[in-house]
């Protein structure tokens, strides 16, 4: 291979959604780009694979809720094979007695499902939802682009911007917002609703994937943040072919723009000389040269392992080392030989995002168990039946079911080998309370524990978001204090994974913002 083949304008580490978005935008800006990934397939954690022959499923991430239309358009994803099976999945809180609640839209029938549990809650939901929308608007500008660079005027500019928005909110909403910020989602929901089921479902939504419980301070803000991220997308959606189809479209689009994607190329080192990135070295010794290196690997792996702590000032390295990354999510994928029967389910519900969290106590207990390194007795979960929207995922009449299990300890007492079967049984048992015939329909299944997710997707600590998304690790504190906008890091090195602002979820925004920042920095010079 000639030397030129190894020299690029930019190297992107990781062919996950964020890496590919970054590559796409870099190519769009006229740069020659190579994407390097250790895996044999593109996609990172957004990958579609077989559970058993002919049963396809999104192995890890299973919904696309915050992917912005702008990125889709900019990178011409529909031209490159992205077709949405659905863009408007309803959120359904499952009830053991069939009185399910639908939360997505504010339609009368949805409100009736809430009212069926507690009459007051239907009105309360309207108020809650409206307030959430206002709060989302309040913080939305922070998610629209890279955070403003911290200059001398930035604090006052930011303060003015926020002050204007807070003023607009009005005193009553402002008060509730101020109360919400440090609050736990449990406190917020107890203030707002009566019914156990709606509280359980919303608390699950707020804590899903975060290794927090409903009573964890700050979990209320997590719900606002999640909503704000979703608002930048276009509703909860599912692409034809699973989440892997999204990354495949991104890869095709990137390749069409001239990006070279080199798989099975694990990066061993990011080469830094005189405080500048020079390129990367693969595990097999191949050296790729580029002045710009974007890493969608998590901040700890990128900065401490690939670059090396010595290339950062000690306080920065310490901040990175201290990023909390408590992976606490497992995934169950099932192949079903028919649609399981849920009581009182119509089309909309089967095609929805099903939440199993009967009350906040159950959610809290699952968190408490995880903290202790134990398995909860009643797992809470987010369930989707993707084949309902995309029949090609399974043979005719058959289905696949995708389940995210929050609050599963990374380090479990007794080890995961001893616990996998127990957990699988508990998951099926829990599902059976809602769809009694499910155990007869399962023909194959897989359970991916946090350590297995770490192993197969390179998620350090098995953390889906590359770092807890608590308030102290968001916005200007993401990935670490003093590192938003890449201050204090190596010149030419940009983090573009979920570990950076605005965080996890299939949004592609970290990738886009990283490119925005890099290009802006280049222009300045």
């Amino acid at each position: 291979m000639s030397d030129d083949a190894l020299r690029y304008d930019a190297i992107v580490i990781g062919a996950g959604h964020n890496g590919l978005v970054a590559a796409g935008y870099l190519a769009k800006a006229g740069k020659s780009v190579v994407v390097l990934d250790a895996a044999a397939l593109v996609g990172g954690a957004a990958r579609t694979a077989e559970i058993s022959p002919d049963y396809q499923i999104s192995t890890a991430a299973h919904l696309v809720s915050s992917f912005p239309r702008k990125i889709e358009k900019d990178l011409k994803l529909s031209k490159h094979g992205l077709i949405w099976a659905t863009r408007d999945m309803a959120t359904v809180a499952l009830d053991r007695d069939g009185k399910h609640i639908t939360l997505s839209s504010g339609s009368k029938s949805d409100l009736m499902t809430i009212g069926a549990h507690a009459t007051r809650d239907a009105d309360a939901w309207k108020l809650f939802d409206a307030r959430m929308r206002k709060y989302v608007k309040l913080i939305a500008p922070l998610l629209e682009g890279p955070l403003p660079e911290m200059g001398k005027e930035t604090p006052s500019k930011l303060a003015t911007m926020m002050a204007l928005r807070l003023e607009k909110l009005g005193p009553a909403d402002l008060r509730t917002f101020m109360q919400l910020m440090p609050s736990s989602i449990a406190a917020l929901l107890d203030r707002s609703f009566e019914g156990d089921l709606i509280k359980g479902a919303l608390s699950l939504d707020a804590t899903l994937g975060h290794h927090t419980g409903p009573h964890t301070p700050g979990s209320a803000f997590a719900l606002v943040y999640k909503r704000a991220l979703e608002a930048s997308g276009q509703g909860v959606g599912y692409p034809v072919g699973g989440t892997g189809a999204l990354t495949e479209a991104l890869a095709t689009s990137a390749e069409a723009a001239g990006v070279r994607i080199r798989l099975e190329s694990p990066v061993a080192q990011i080469i830094v000389e005189d405080g500048r990135t020079k390129g990367v070295r693969l595990e097999d010794g191949t050296v790729f040269e580029a002045p710009l290196v974007m890493s969608s690997a998590d901040p700890k792996t990128t900065c401490l392992d690939l670059v090396g702590a010595r290339h950062f000032e000690a306080p920065v390295a310490t901040h990175i080392r201290r990023i909390r990354m408590d992976g606490a999510t497992a995934k169950v994928n099932l192949a079903l030989e028919g649609l399981p029967t849920f009581e009182n389910f119509s089309d909309k519900e089967y095609g929805g995002r099903l939440l199993i969290a009967p009350d906040m106590g159950t959610v809290e207990r699952s968190f408490t168990a995880a903290k202790r390194g134990e398995l909860t007795l009643e797992p809470v979960m987010e369930v989707v039946i993707p084949s309902y929207h995309d029949p090609r995922l399974a043979p005719m009449g058959h289905h696949v079911m995708s389940i995210i299990l929050p609050n599963m300890p990374y380090a479990i007492n007794g080890g995961w080998d001893a616990n996998k079967d127990v957990l699988m049984k508990r998951v099926i048992d829990t599902l059976r309370e809602y769809a009694p015939d499910i155990s007869n329909k399962v023909i194959a299944g897989e359970l991916l524990t946090p350590p297995e997710l770490e192993e197969s997707f390179g998620m350090s600590g098995g953390h889906w978001h590359q770092g807890n998304m608590s308030f102290d690790q968001l916005l200007a504190f993401r990935p670490a204090p003093g590192m938003a906008n890449y201050e204090g890091s190596v010149e030419g090195l940009y983090l573009c994974g979920a570990g950076t602002h605005p965080g996890g979820g299939l949004s592609g925004l970290p990738g886009k913002f990283a490119v925005d920042t890099a290009l802006a920095a280049e222009k300045k010079q």
Binding site: G275, L304, A309, F312, E313, A314, P315, A317, G482
Partner: protein
């Protein structure tokens, strides 16, 4: 703590006993005094840390005047400040400097580690050479300063005024280096003054004049291995002797025994502080606060504020504080350390420095200099005030303003 707990258990037992006491049954009212808790004061309100030379210092002390140095008790004055100062400047003074914090930094990557930790490159330092170093935090402010000794190719000793093991360990992430606090295993003595050279020669050091400034050497002194460095902050001829703590006492005696005929006497912290001030060196914790302990960040100083810019080598790409320091270097530092001389006849409490009615800084260290026959002081003032060199006044404790004039540091230049 233990004492207190014992005490409580005791009083509980007393209560139990008294309840079952036959006296109760006999209808005799219990004496309330029985139940009173007597708090036994611990023998000392706090732990006293002593140096290996504490007993020797106690033997020499005629004033019983002690002071605290990093938690250690050291002599403030042995006989009188005047006599001790006089010894330092005309003959030689011997002091206990064991409370200094010593770290051993060793390993394959000790040099790259120190290069990242310190504001200057240390690779060029040869064995048995020392360098004055500052440690800066991420914001460019000084954490502490001290001396770095290269003991071997891959072994260094860092001697600083305050303890920062946590910072040293944090900085070690990603380096093959061992960081150890060896403060307790090394005793320190300072021998300073014009006669110091002769005293060392009489004490058994061969060829002491060969030891240049900033150099160090291993010496056998009366059978004891002693590491002698020509370092210190008092100005003039000064040696620091580092030895095993168990040898320290013998070494101290030996130096005093051979030195007394030449006028050597033990010197306490008070006289040393005057000498340090005359030498114009700002002290962490006095003239400025460590970046980690400054309650008000305005009390912390960057090396540029203290005219220590020569210790900062910005050509290197990564070291702790570089980012902030390069900004300060470019914009110029807002503060500057100045020396002040005042014709005040007696020691007074002095405070803010003003130009007209404008406060531009604060006097920290100040003392009557017997050599210069005036009050000398160090102050960090606003750099913008420097242009107007005359018209500085300082407020004294009694509220009046006295004129001061800027003076060159060191106030007392000594060879």
């Amino acid at each position: 703590m233990t004492d207190r707990q014992d005490d409580q258990t005791l009083s509980e037992e007393t209560i139990n006993v008294s309840r079952d006491s036959p006296l109760n049954g006999a209808g005799v009212a219990p004496d309330p005094a029985w139940f009173e808790q007597s708090v036994i004061e611990p023998p000392f309100a706090r732990h006293v840390l002593t140096t290996p030379l504490h007993l020797d210092a106690a033997v020499e002390s005629r004033t019983n005047s002690w002071t605290d140095w990093s938690g250690y008790t050291v002599a403030e004055v042995y006989t009188s400040v005047e006599q001790e100062y006089d010894a330092l400047r005309t003959r030689a003074g011997l002091s206990d400097i064991s409370p200094l914090v010593k770290y051993r930094l060793s390993g394959r990557e000790a040099v790259p580690y120190l290069d990242r930790l310190l504001t200057r490159a240390v690779g060029a330092l040869t064995i048995d050479q020392t360098a004055r170093v500052v440690l800066c935090a991420g914001d460019g402010n000084i954490i502490t300063e001290g001396m770095l000794f290269r003991l071997a190719e891959e072994e260094f000793r860092l001697i600083v005024r305050s303890s920062h093991l946590d910072w040293l360990e944090q900085s070690a992430l990603g380096f093959d280096v061992q960081v150890e606090d060896v403060s307790g295993t090394i005793a320190g003595l300072s021998l300073a003054g014009p006669s110091a050279l002769n005293v060392l020669a009489s004490a058994g050091m061969k060829n002491p004049e060969a030891l240049g400034k900033g150099q160090a050497v291993w010496v056998q002194m009366g059978g004891m291995p002693v590491y002698i460095s020509r370092t210190g902050m008092l100005g003039g001829r000064e040696y620091e002797l580092w030895s095993d703590p168990s040898d320290a006492s013998v070494l101290w005696r030996r130096l005093l025994d051979v030195g007394r005929p030449q006028g050597v006497r033990p010197v306490g912290a008070a006289a040393r502080d005057i000498a340090r001030l005359e030498n114009g060196i700002a002290l962490e914790g006095v003239d400025y606060q460590s970046a980690f302990t400054a309650l008000d960040s305005a009390e912390a100083r960057s090396p540029y504020d203290l005219s220590l810019g020569r210790l900062v080598d910005l050509d290197r790409q990564v070291f702790n504080g570089r980012k902030a320091l390069s900004v300060i270097a470019e914009e110029g530092s807002a503060h500057v350390l100045v020396g002040l001389e005042m014709n005040l006849t007696e020691g007074v409490v002095i405070g803010p420095i003003c130009i007209g009615d404008r406060r531009v800084g604060q006097v920290k260290s100040h003392a009557w200099s017997p050599s210069l026959q005036c009050v000398v002081a160090l102050a960090v003032i606003e750099a913008s005030a420097l242009g107007t060199s005359d018209g500085f006044t300082v407020e004294t404790g009694s509220g009046d303003r006295q004129p001061v004039k800027l003076a060159k540091r060191p106030f007392l230049p000594l060879i």
